[in-house]
Symmetry: C2
Subunit: 263 residues, 2 copies
């Protein structure tokens, strides 16, 4: 089984370089470890048309999951659900279930002495028709799940702790299940004093002998500078972690032997 995932990150702060997209990396790492395969990450601004077009394109590529981050909060520029509504044709409607979640969270907050469900607060409970809210264990904006046939379109807030909380509580298990419990294993070795162009044929050979292992070179001190320093990253996806680990170790041993012969 495979489980393909696209991530769509929403936020002007990403496009002006104010914010480093740690959410995308965190999600990609988690999803990979759960046996899923992230096939594309797209970042767009807080613009309904842009969000809708990125989501529509992701839906067209027929992945198993599309996960959006950001744009679920109470302010005017939190527009993700408007974009999803436009991409899917599902109208935005007040969800009583989501409103209950929002109200419960505010009740738990000690800082708001008397709760008023103001317009910005109610906004967080206005979801595409037929979608389900996912409890936010950390903040107030619920996550949102829209199902289209077998595809799941999931929206998570942009505040990292909230994104992580909802993912761990409600999303991780869906991905694990869809991937059929595939296991990812990775390991790295550092090679000093050999430039990448000289390593290239060795990488080719190791991958030919170990077809289930992906080897990628990451120059830390790049080609053309004194003191070449390259990270060789080995990874494998198998039915068990033990099997994936075995494959990776065998490939590393092959690489070490070839490097030894070279010297």
């Amino acid at each position: 089984m495979t489980c393909s995932v696209e991530i769509v990150c929403v936020g002007n702060e990403l496009l002006i370089g104010k914010t480093l997209n740690t959410n995308a990396q965190w999600l990609a790492d988690k999803i990979t470890r759960l046996g899923g395969k992230v096939t594309r990450i797209t970042e767009v601004g807080d613009d309904v048309q842009e969000i809708a077009s990125a989501v529509r394109e992701a839906l067209k590529r027929k992945v198993d999951f599309v996960i959006t981050t950001g744009g679920l909060g109470p302010t005017f520029d939190d527009k993700t659900l408007q974009g999803i509504s436009r991409a899917t044709g599902k109208k935005l409607k007040l969800s009583s279930e989501a409103l209950r979640l929002v109200r419960d969270r505010y009740r738990e907050m000690s800082i708001l002495k008397r709760l008023r469900l103001t317009k910005p607060r109610v906004k967080m409970a206005i979801l595409p028709e037929g979608s389900s809210p996912m409890r936010n264990p950390v903040g107030t904006a619920p996550g949102v799940l829209v199902e289209r046939g077998s595809l799941k379109l999931i929206s998570l807030p942009g505040v990292p702790e909230e994104l992580r909380g909802i993912f761990e509580e409600s999303v991780a298990e869906m991905i694990r299940e869809k991937s059929g419990n595939l296991a990812f294993y990775e390991s790295s070795m550092i090679v000093r004093g050999v430039v990448e162009s000289a390593l290239a044929p060795l990488i080719d050979r190791v991958m030919r002998v170990n077809p289930r292992v992906y080897v990628k070179s990451h120059p830390k001190v790049g080609e053309g500078r004194i003191g070449a320093l390259i990270e060789l990253h080995f990874s494998s996806i198998e039915k068990s972690r033990e099997k994936a680990r075995e494959q990776v170790i065998r490939a590393i041993i092959d690489m070490v032997r070839m490097l030894g012969k070279r010297r």
Copy 2:
């Protein structure tokens, strides 16, 4: 004048969450400060078909610049130029100008005692027909410029120092020129003890009074947790830095006044 830019980042390491995409953030920040507007960032894996489709879609959206990062090196999985060749229909061909740049860089390297232009090294000089190589002041793989009418498609290597070196030396000026020297100014203030849903109407009002300023709230301690801490980010793009700065300061003063009245 406006100058729109899309960024396409290539690398499996981004999709498995191994690498935080600092290149995209660095570029987005630089481009914004040069007066350009990044409209989308896409991350795809080391796959010719995926690269080609992301580049083709970016070209279709008719921006002024498409900048790719990564996949220019000497190894088998450096496939960006193959993807660009497929997206643009320009065949890959050995460029004598690029080969000269690669050869010069290896000659300058003290670590290679005798230079052999092996296949992986020559690979870095095989470019889409009609493109121009851009000198890499730090590493060996040249940057690549493909022109399509008024659109510039630029490829930079993934090693951060190399990407930055080529950008500063050859790309920055093109963007500054295209943007007509627009200036970006930004400033932030921290608001404590007011939740985002309570700030939302104030942000609306400040933006209505200051239509040239964009105000965005970034919850540091999110809604629903004790000790609300929100960064309010103000930014403006104007013909001069002074003018942009003036607009931003006026908006901050308005916000401070409104917050004062609230208490």
